[in-house]
């Protein structure tokens, strides 16, 4: 089942078209990485899902229910962590979480249990100061806790890790990973290593559209273009090879690079054997998400 479906979404600010026919489908219990450059429209897309922005065209469904602008029923299924979360500065973290539970009608005992559980999860247990004095990282942690508080079906996090130090980032990624059992996570980021660490699915946003989307392995396999790196012992041997196979990219030293599609590997190997070239390294390179993203964005 799809927890979130966006169909043909258009959104412009003045004469700036930010979203131009965006389609997105987030399967249930996935951890969905929503990747795009600065200003690609990630925050804009997320805000429309929460009914915080009016769309020019298109439909959005959360848990198969349509999202309407402004007051929207679908928000009952959603937990939201904005890019810069702001809380009531005069409350303490436990008070704020209790408030989150109370406004949605949770039972007192349940609120108490959930508060303790989540404060421990995000590493804010025993924090008795008012939120006024919290650092950005602490606010981010509290932000995750409040977003998860009501056990939402869909957790939307806008760049949850960008304000955090490497240790904090790992912790938050672990929290998201753990949340998967209970919910579906959609998070935006431009840190591709984060996506690679925890995501099951990924979508690349560029020029107002989702260019690529699917499970991590799907996306990688569709874009898999085996590339080989060959390193010889002496530059002369490398030069000789590049003369025999002009399609090889030669760096002028001992290294040659080539695509499987451009050149048959076995043909290269045969020449290596015939000429008794001493090979230092022959390596098949896995495509990284990073290289895929660059490819998508630059196309």
């Amino acid at each position: 089942m799809e927890m979130l479906r966006i169909e043909n979404l258009y959104k412009r600010f003045g004469d700036k078209e930010v979203l131009r026919g965006l389609n997105l489908s987030v399967p249930e219990h996935s951890i969905f990485g929503f990747v795009g450059k600065n200003g690609a429209g990630k925050t804009t897309t997320m805000k429309t899902v929460l009914g915080l922005l009016n769309v020019d065209a298109g439909n959005i469904f959360v848990n198969e229910m349509p999202v309407t602008y402004g007051q929207t029923e679908t928000n009952r299924y959603v937990g939201y962590l904005p890019d810069v979360p702001e809380f009531y500065p005069f409350m303490t973290a436990p008070e704020y979480l209790a408030f989150c539970g109370e406004i949605t009608g949770m039972k007192k005992a349940e609120i108490k249990k959930r508060t303790e559980e989540l404060l421990a999860l995000v590493g804010l247990e025993g924090e008795s100061h008012r939120i006024k004095g919290f650092s950005r990282g602490m606010k981010q942690r509290l932000g995750i806790a409040q977003a998860l508080f009501n056990r939402p079906k869909l957790l939307i996090c806008d760049e949850p890790t960008s304000a955090l130090d490497p240790v904090g980032r790992k912790e938050i990624l672990d929290v998201l990973l753990a949340a998967r059992a209970e919910t579906t996570v959609l998070f935006s980021t431009h840190i591709l290593s984060d996506v690679e660490k925890i995501c099951t699915d990924v979508a690349f946003l560029d020029q107002g559209k989702v260019r690529v989307q699917g499970t991590l392995s799907e996306v990688k396999s569709v874009y898999r273009r085996e590339s080989y790196l060959l390193e010889t012992e002496s530059p002369e041997e490398a030069r000789g090879l590049s003369e025999a196979f002009p399609v090889l990219q030669y760096d002028g030293g001992c290294r040659l690079q080539f695509d499987e599609t451009a050149c048959d590997v076995s043909a290269v190997l045969r020449v290596l054997a015939d000429r008794k070239i001493s090979v230092v390294k022959l390596e098949r390179q896995e495509p990284t998400l990073e290289s895929l993203f660059m490819e998508v964005v630059e196309r």
Binding site: Q71, T74, N75, R76, V84, E86, E102, I103, T104, G105
Partner: protein, 256 residues
Amino acid sequence: MKTWNALMKKEWIEQVRTGKLMILSAIFVLFGIMNPAIAKLTPWLLKMMADSLAESGMIITDISVSALDSWVQFFKNMPIALIVFVLVEGGIFTREYQSGTLVLTLTKGLDRKMVVFTKAAILFLLWSAGYWLCFGITYGYNMYFWDNAAASHLLFSVIGWWLFGVWVIALMVLFSSVATANTGVFLGAGGGALAAYLMTIFPKLKTYSPAMLTEANALIYGKEEPAEYMTAIAVAAMTGILCIAGSLILIKKKKL
């Protein structure tokens, strides 16, 4: 109901912890004491100045003050208290729009109308508590020094002025669902009150203006009768309800 309680509790904690409750209490208590004090001290002050006044040709004869003078002070000071109230509380909605705190509350899926209801309620409660506290203090001193019976239609007059404050709160709520910053609320509510005041200048319009409710001095001196205020009360009630209703509609599609 749980949502209502939670939001009311949050508003209350905010009033207490951000010092707003302190400021409002101080103002209303201060005015409550000042009203009779000024009336009480007037003869004494004038006597002090009698000599210099006599030199300039003014003769002070014995003046007597009564509870009436204290009530005149009450109605004279109340606009200042109301202005302070609006200045202190004008950002009750817009502060949350600007900081983004309301986004988190609303994306939990609660009804936006609840926010309007609770914030309007807390404004109503604060204004009412402050106003009647101020009234009670002045009433007590007046009773001790003089006799409150000197003021005719006293209860009607104070209820009328209180109602005007409630009407201004309705304006605040309406403009809070339109404005993005508290200046918008000040301009809207202030503009509304000013317009109502300007209406009272024209005799034909006067009876329809909610601001007529602030002219309680004419009532306590017995120059006018409560019956003449009924139209103004009806207009204030109607427009006040319309403001709240409008706010409930506007907040639904309010951009946050």
